[in-house]
Amino acid sequence: MVSGAKAVRPKYPSADTLLYAEVIRPPEYRLRNGLFTCRALAAVDENSVAQIKGLVQLVVRGNFVALVARDIQSARLAARKLALVWADEAAADAAASSSSRAPAACNAESALAEVADGRQRTARTYGWPNRLRWGNRPGWVMADARPDCLQVWAPSQTPGLLQRDLAALLSYDTKQIEIFDGSRSDGVARSCADDAAADAALLSQAVGQPVAVWLSPAYQPVVAALGQAQRIDATACWSPATGVDEFEYQLQSAANSAPVLAMLLVNGGLQPLQAVGANARALYDFGQSKVRQPGASTQAYRAPAQAPLQDTFARESFVDELARDLGADPVAFRRDHLTDARGRALIDSVAQQAQWTPEPDHGLAAAEQGDILRGRGFAYAHSPADNGDAEQGTRSAWVADIEVNRVTGEVLLNRIVVGQDSGAAIDQEALREQLQREMLEGNEPLLLGQEGFDQWGRAEAPDGTPAMAGLPVAIDLVAPPATPASGPVAKPGASMPLRYDAGVLHPAVAVIANALYNATGIRFREPPFAADRIRAELAPVKRQYAAPDKSRWRSLATVAVASSVGVLAIAWPWKGAIEPISRPAANLYSAATIERGRLVAAAGDCVVCHTDLEGAENVGGRAFDTPFGTLYSTNLTPDEDTGIGRWSFEAFDRAMRQGISRDGRNLYPAFPYTAFAKISESDMQALYAYLMAQPAVRSETPQPEMSFPFSYRPLMAGWNTLFHDPSPFQPDPARSELWNRGAYLAEGLGHCSACHTPRNAMGAEKSGADYFSGALVDGWEAPALNSLSKAPVPWTEDALYDYLRFGASDMHGVAAGPMAPVVAGLAELPEQDVRAIAHYVASYSNAEPAPETALQAQAELLKSRAAVSPSALDAGQRVYEAACAACHTESDFPSFTDAQTSLALNSNLHSSTPDNVIQTILYGVQAKQLELPNIGAMPGFKDSLSDQQITSLVEYLRLRFGAGQPGWQDIAGKVAHYRAHAGTH
């Protein structure tokens, strides 16, 4: 097997010469049956990015477009500003117009059908994706293309394939290409690390300097666009009495792995890289056996290393299914139909070592089990030697034991038993080492979750090896049975042949698929076996809440509100206490789950409310002034007496979704359980795991001081019936995936509307046109996010993204007040998630997005109008000049200040209330996440300016920067109020 990866990692390219690139993909592109189609680049206007400082080069090759700059911000800015036109219709590339036949329809209903004479027919279809996933964790992928050599730093799982692709794409000899940071040899999975590597290499060659690209979930669309690499239809006819007598096996696709995307975009089609004879063959003896190869296609791209994996996965899964249809033990069934004596001997010894006993499939009894499902599977492979000689080839048999967490969907590989017969004796220790490594490198992409919170924070161990969930695997090696006729048996030592490379991993994917079926009763016919897929298939037992029939309760409630409190308490279903538990052990959940929970907590901004005034996180005790009285946030640390230490997950889940404390008391909806009800099951579990793993802090929560009747908590049950919808988040199928992801984050965890939507007289968020129309919360105005926004320059999706990601937008200013810790929390989220929130929120401003130039012009106009100080308010002007102007004035020469955005663009000075302006002047901007490039910091002036000075200053600011809006009323009263009431943020 070709291997380009080196064990020793050289230094990365020098930071002085390294450039950064952002790639722009066509709006539509796809690969189906070896046919690549894409909307072609029609025109590109280089002048649209000419003004961007730091931009080095616009690179266009066919339909491949990228911007290379000295820093990533400039590259991204250029990518955003670049004016380019794509052709309307996706055109099939002429070069790739091979006549692929349409894939046969796969109908699961008819998969098992009676044929005739009591004979049965089993038909199944297996698939293999071109990319298992975008990658394992975000990171830089770099390439340095020099005339005589190409160095690439990429976490490639298939460095051999990548090397071949790069050689063909950039005209190098494979010997000139070195790949670092990847696996040492081709594993089971190809990921977008290869696509990113090709992007970087292509660009490095184009600009003549090393180039870095950011590999992240932004590459996820490539996985869907490239689709399936192989489809295998398998059918068998059998009868319970005589067993299998007819077996047919059809490979549908001639192409068995897509090359790097850059190659498809640049060449506009597939280049025949290497003609490889199809190598699927009948392994078991089932009477009449037929193996049909796909029609020959000269345009097909063949990746020989992938074909046997795909083939073994399909065959071993199918044989497993057949055995179950026939009611046979899968191991015995294989053994009985194998003509190869050495193969039979190997299967026997592996089964013996693993203590294989025919077991029922656990999935059938899953309902009675706990959260952990256990299963074991078997798979066998036999690949011919390089010269095609099957007898001299490699046989390998595997048994795997797995655990599936039915709540999180995580699969843990506990133990594998491997037997390998490669003809001659082999170095068992070297084999074990290789297997350990391959399982580590190879199975992560196979089993990891797909997207969203799942891939967060997969930290690297200090030595640079990836941190693994549940690995290393216990590996039992089974010595192959004595093979006297198979040639000389080498003595242990250096001369021992290491012939295990060919085919050692072939059963790895099927064995997990078979074990998964055994554990869950669900058959996965296409990898990867990612946590989110497994979760979806397992359809976890829905927690049934006593959610009464809404319409009925609503009418009842209308009547009941008028009656006495006593009646109400009886009328609503009583929520009992949930039994306390002893605090769960800190190691109950995996490190990965806890880390994910930390990010869920960050996205949910728990600490914004649950941090005490001294800054101790999650201990609660912070006061909230509501129109109904004063509330205090609670202690979220796992202290057994004052915190949530004795809460079971069920109690926690109920509190989060229904607003009912463990002891059965209702919580007030200042705690946004109305939003948290939308959190997914697995995110909730991770959040619980995270909170329970934190240090317990004893901190008593003060009693709320609510006015009657709100002081009577059972009333909240009625409130819930009227205003709370505990149903989980439902994606809107009419909207894009990005929008729905943003909606999930914004409506659920992010609970944006808790502040940005006004509440009715009962303290419930209004709906309809009032959604996102702004509200005053705890002395701060949360401005309208919908079409009622008062922002002087309209918010765009890009501006929202900048604001949420970096804490400031150059058209609006910095995040402050309660929004500052929200931005700090968002800093933990993957870029794509912040983008999704911006996209979702932007969809609420009805206006058509104005072109960037129009926004710029409007900003300039506002600034020029405010440039001249009005002469009317001398007192305010003096205060402004003395206290503010040093930082807030745009002078002719640059100064280093956080007040970079003109006050003329500040939404708060255009708002209908002065609250935010007054709060900011009094208390300043005390951002915590100071590392964010644009977050602001400003001193508070409460000790140096009098009420009167602040009042005249606010009047002046409004007159000068408010673009002609009427002056505010009762500024003095509000200044006095906020000076006396510091607020809680």
């Binding site: 930082c887 020469f893 200040t897 100071l930 590392e931």
Partner: protein
């Protein structure tokens, strides 16, 4: 939040284990013993604490150190020495532009930033640039002359 932070001051790199909100001025004066920058108002109003950050004038009393990762800070001490003063310092000495001298750090640093971006400023530009550096003794005329001398717009004949 406490994170070790690397700060480059006058071409020397310091690793500080301090809250990110700590004002730069406190670090300079208390930890690094650089007393050129003065504590005046503490609110960014008077300019006595001015330093250069990446060559731009900045008010150290309101600048949290968390904002300075990867930046280069220059204080008065980083401009010149007694033996080899910076041309701006030399001009302020020659023009005798100090009375009590408390504001002079800010005047000199702001002038340095001005001249780096505008080597030959007009008198109006000089006054605009120094407008928000407060001097209560009244050496304003000498200060403007010193800036002109540092810019090479004024020769020795008027003085001494």
């Amino acid at each position: 939040m406490k994170t070790p932070l690397t700060l480059t001051v006058n071409d020397r790199t310091h690793v500080l284990d301090l809250p990110a909100q700590t004002p730069l001025l406190y670090v300079l004066r208390n930890d690094l013993e650089l007393n050129g920058p003065k504590f005046g108002c503490g609110l960014g109003e008077c300019g006595a604490c001015t330093v250069l950050v990446d060559g731009m004038a900045a008010r150290a009393c309101v600048l949290p150190i968390g904002r300075l990762a990867g930046r280069r800070v220059t204080t008065l001490e980083g401009l010149g020495t007694l033996e080899h003063p910076d041309p701006v310092q030399e001009a302020f000495i020659l023009e005798q532009a100090a009375q009590c001298g408390y504001c002079l750090n800010g005047m000199i640093m702001t002038t340095k930033a001005l001249l780096m971006h505008c080597p030959s400023p007009t008198e109006a530009q000089i006054k605009a640039a120094l407008k928000h550096n407060l001097c209560r003794c009244g050496t304003h005329v000498e200060i403007v002359r010193a800036v002109q001398r540092a810019a090479g717009l004024r020769q020795d004949e008027d003085t001494l």
